[in-house]
């Protein structure tokens, strides 16, 4: 796999103790884009240090393919090997591994594995119990099976991009990250674990033709139903709540640079509490704001008035004061806020320090649930962040799959591994 959408499912399986072997090739064009995608660990960070040696305070400190920060966060807990699938001996070696594997995951362009003779049909002849998961933009079957997609493509296609943002005439705001590079990984982990139960109980494999676009459709159900019932085209609502008389309901500017707080008022009592927190200004006592329906009807004015108050407030102080009054309020937290400040993430141990063999120990984002008896550990079996390119060739090929050291040397010589 490569990029984000493929490695996500195996990242989760590794967290639950699966032995995940990440197969890569080091030649230009084959190497995972994320390995040379900024940001990078600072040049001075070494295996013995890492974050303790300090951040770089600049981007683009590109060293080599083993210093990518996002790659490091995306592939922890995995073993890493190099394997040239353009070489017949490379394909043979993959076949040898597949014979003993429970599952194979790939997200190459549709048809690439078939071109190598490594498609699902072929591999399941070698291992009928194999679970083969293939993630593509549209899905391998259907009329767009060869269409190409990144997360944003599938988001635009499935309707998610349209849903995000302020009402027209604003254009869609889209997504500042690719949920559809995550969700197929979540579903992939879920379906593979369902297939593993069957494999264990009944000895059968599975072919999972995962569609990024379909994982997007799953999130648009309410819009799609509303259209079928009313013929009404979907529109955008910004941060407002169209389906209940909740107002104010949005992000409001606070003191400081690009600082915001989200506030959701769900009842008259909460509105009264908010008004009291503002010092019960005259405008808040006006009749038109007295009822939920009235606040909803005059939401533009309500938001403008509320902003006159919030813009003078410190965002965290305001959040604490509103929470003390039983109001759902949350700071729009940026990365620094979440990493340095968020006491909840700290207390729950969300960030997990993991070593990397070249750039040292860095915090890795963890799994968002605690399982009492079989906890997820993002370091997996390796106890490491992401592997260096080909870091585990010896361990995987020699110790797991039993190739001799002489065979390995020969394969290295022939540019197979």
């Amino acid at each position: 796999t490569w990029l984000q959408v493929g490695p996500q499912a195996t990242r989760i399986l590794a967290s639950f103790g699966a032995q995940v072997i990440r197969v890569e090739w080091r030649k230009r064009g084959a190497i995972d884009f994320l390995r040379y995608f900024a940001p990078f660990a600072p040049n001075h960070a070494t295996a013995d240090g890492g974050r303790a040696q300090g951040a770089a305070h600049s981007s683009g400190m590109r060293g080599n393919f083993d210093r990518g920060a996002y790659f490091n966060n995306t592939n922890p807990g995995k073993y890493g090997v190099t394997l040239n699938l353009n070489h017949p001996k490379g394909r043979d070696l993959l076949r040898r591994m597949v014979r003993e594997a429970n599952a194979l995951c790939e997200n190459f362009s549709p048809g690439q594995m078939d071109k190598w003779g490594l498609g699902c049909e072929e591999l399941r002849k070698l291992n009928p119990k194999l679970i083969y998961m293939q993630t593509t933009g549209m899905g391998k079957t259907g009329v767009y099976e060869n269409y190409v997609s990144y997360g944003p493509t599938a988001q635009a296609f499935s309707g998610l991009t349209f849903l995000s943002g302020l009402p027209e005439p604003y254009q869609p705001a889209g997504w500042g990250y690719s949920y559809l590079d995550h969700s197929p990984g979540y579903f992939g982990a879920m379906l593979m674990m369902a297939a593993l139960r069957r494999q264990r109980a009944e000895g059968v494999g599975a072919y999972i033709d995962m569609s990024q676009a379909e994982t997007g459709l799953m999130l648009t159900g309410t819009s799609i139903l509303e259209y079928q019932l009313t013929g009404k085209k979907t529109t955008r609502y910004g941060n407002r709540m169209p389906y209940r008389d909740w107002a104010p309901h949005g992000a409001f500017r606070c003191a400081g640079e690009d600082n915001w707080i989200a506030i959701s008022i769900q009842s008259d009592a909460q509105w009264q509490a908010l008004a009291e927190e503002m010092g019960s200004p005259a405008w808040a006592r006006e009749g038109k704001f007295g009822s939920a329906a009235g606040r909803k009807q005059h939401e533009d004015e309500l938001e403008a008035k509320l902003t006159e108050f919030t813009v003078q407030s410190d965002r965290y102080d305001l959040m604490n004061r509103l929470q003390a009054r039983g109001i759902a309020a949350g700071v729009v937290q940026k990365a620094a806020d979440r990493f340095d400040r968020d006491p909840q993430l700290k207390a729950r141990g969300y960030f997990v320090d993991l070593p990397h063999s070249e750039i040292g120990t860095w915090p890795i984002e963890g799994f968002p649930a605690k399982l009492a008896a079989s906890p997820a550990y993002v370091g997996g079996l390796t106890g490491r962040a992401a592997p260096k390119l080909g870091e585990d060739n010896e361990f995987v090929y020699h110790e797991i799959f039993g190739l001799s050291r002489e065979e390995l040397a020969a394969l290295r010589e022939e540019d197979v591994i």
């Binding site: 989760i12 940001p39 981007s59 996002y70 549209m138 899905g139 009329v143 767009y144 269409y147 190409v148 599938a154 296609f157 499935s158 349209f162 849903l163 995000s164 943002g165 302020l166 254009q171 997504w175 500042g176 990250y177 949920y179 674990m193 297939a195 139960r197 599975a206 072919y207 999972i208 379909e214 459709l217 999130l219 309410t222 819009s223 799609i224 259209y227 079928q228 910004g238 941060n239 992000a251 409001f252 707080i261 989200a262 959701s264 759902a328 309020a329 949350g330 729009v332 937290q333 990365a335 968020d342 909840q344 860095w362 799994f367 649930a369 399982l371 009492a372 008896a373 079989s374 997820a376």
Partner: protein, 421 residues
Amino acid sequence: MTTDGNLRTSLNNVVVVEVGDQMGDYAALLLAGLGAEVIKLEPPEGSPSRSIGPFASPTPDREQSVFFWRYNLNKKSVILDVDNPAASGALGRILGKADILLMAGEYFTVARRLERCRSIAGGNRGLITCAITPFGLDGPYRELKATDLTQMALGGIMAVCGYDPDKDNNYDTPPIAPAMWHSYHIGGEYAAISMMAALNFRDVTGEGQLIDVSVHEAVNTCTEIAIPTYIYNGETVLRQTARHAMPAVTQMRLSVSADNVYMLASLSPFEREERAFVQLLDQIGMEHVLGSPEYAELEKQDRRAALTYRNDLIEQAVASLSAEEIFRRAQPLGLAWSPVRRPEENLEDRHFAARGSFAEIYHSELGRSLRYPGTVATDGQAPHMHYNRRAPRLGEHTEAVLEWAGVTRDEIASMRRHGVV
């Protein structure tokens, strides 16, 4: 492709008891799509998610919530007020036959119910209990009030979604929560993964366990380079219109087609995409200097100007044709372009029809069928997930389920007198 590995029945012997609010609806829906029997225990006035719109009726009606319809397919509804001590006997018998107890809601409510169910269901050592709460069952924020919107704020997604800043990187538009109920989608997907992991663990050990899902942490997992950019480089990413948040504002933008549809049309930094774009321009007869020595020189002298020239060409190419036409031409060349569709436009798409992406669900009360998004994957022939029953009416399965659990008719009558069922 063989179909022996289809997963639509893979949870056929799994009974899931669902209690709580909209944070848990989606997680249980996903398990139901793989064949689990999901029993929703509702208070006499109905689950909170029945009061979320839109409604199929002109005024809010707990049987007409389209939100509830969407997230509760294939489930059974039982009226049983789990907070009422008079329900203990029935609850105990249901939990005795359950594999998973899924609870969702505010910390106080869930913690209280957990305590109660633990004493009632103590004999079922294989029971997996999954609690979905806004912040998790411990930690200093666990009691905070939250809605979907505030979770998207605190969890970091809003800070990376929105519109471009001005040239000085100042924003006059707010951060945006990119879709409604999305924090519950993320939390639900992680809850489903966790329950699946716990089922695997139980298959091997016979032991159930407690799963503590934090929606806050689930939202946090999604911001991609925001966290690494800060940790490794000390920089904050900037939100930008319809593209990834990055430390600097990037040049790409949405284009508008001849038929006035926004089009996601951009080039990734791969040579093959630039070559494909040149092919597209040649195909539609648009003049350009891409690939010429003149352009190579411009790239060397002024990379930003070269990018602007290329992006202008994209914009002109998109403006010259309808969105569907550009889509049909660009994709076979290997360009990952797409129109920005409204969700409902996919109802008519041939691709999704061929894959069976939508499940046709008959609503007897409406006398018609509605199409629901119904799977994320196929086995090469058929969808791996399967939905065939509309969301239940409140209490539609009360008697059938209670009898299945071994509650006698007399007991049911007694509970009815106490207002429990």
